[in-house]
Symmetry: C2
Subunit: 159 residues, 2 copies
Amino acid sequence: MSAKDRTRPGEIEAALPERTDARVVFIGRIRTPFKTRDECPRQGRIDGPVCRIEIDEPWRAALKGLEHYTRAEALYWLHEARRDLVRQSPKSDGRSIGTFALRSPNRPNPIGLSLVEIVSVEEGAVNVRGLDCLDGTPLIDLKPDSCAYTPPANPKKDA
Amino acid sequence: MSAKDRTRPGEIEAALPERTDARVVFIGRIRTPFKTRDECPRQGRIDGPVCRIEIDEPWRAALKGLEHYTRAEALYWLHEARRDLVRQSPKSDGRSIGTFALRSPNRPNPIGLSLVEIVSVEEGAVNVRGLDCLDGTPLIDLKPDSCAYTPPANPKKDA
């Protein structure tokens, strides 16, 4: 564990249970210009650098139709994060905030989520802006932005 | 598998690999008025019914500070979804769309994501509007809405 990963004054740890309630399968990886965590922005910006989301087989066929959208939500696994902090002290000032009131990568299920702008969709890859993650971060999902999305199926009676 | 889960004409299956690349731990559950999938809306609505997100120990302490936000992102595991469809036919008309161009629950990692409005934060629970999931859906994460969020730590040089 590097110095920056040490528990700070005021932070509260809670060991992650050993159980596996669901299993995640990595479906690709994200190529970004950020080679270390210090280089990663705290939040992705829609005017940030172009990053490349590479999709593995057999999921490349699942990109069909994404080219009709301008924005998408990318979900990825923050593989270097701690999973055992329930209170964190972002300013290292002895005061702590709950993990669910932070967008810190350190969380019991370290899933990163960014709203990205789609620059282009290729065979097996998507170029986007708006990501904040390390180069090589594993991809777990990609879906059209909920704001722009209209379900293609007929509305149910609730809609 | 019920009739509605059968593969439709035009849909493409790809078996999910057996591997576990990352393990998810359920941290609570979501109480909604939707007792069957037919009752679930296709998308949650901010003016929809109040639902209750229950947090298990040891993560209740992680709620501290969430009361300062009006909106949050809830991530949950769509435990009844299929994970083996790369092309889906929402209208059952023989035409199919890629899974990453849909917000269907059926996806390789069936993670649901809703932007919710926070009604109240209690000890160990959050009441919200905007969810679309089945009663009893396992919770995997909760974080402040990215639009309203300003990281509490000092900005990095990129910001």
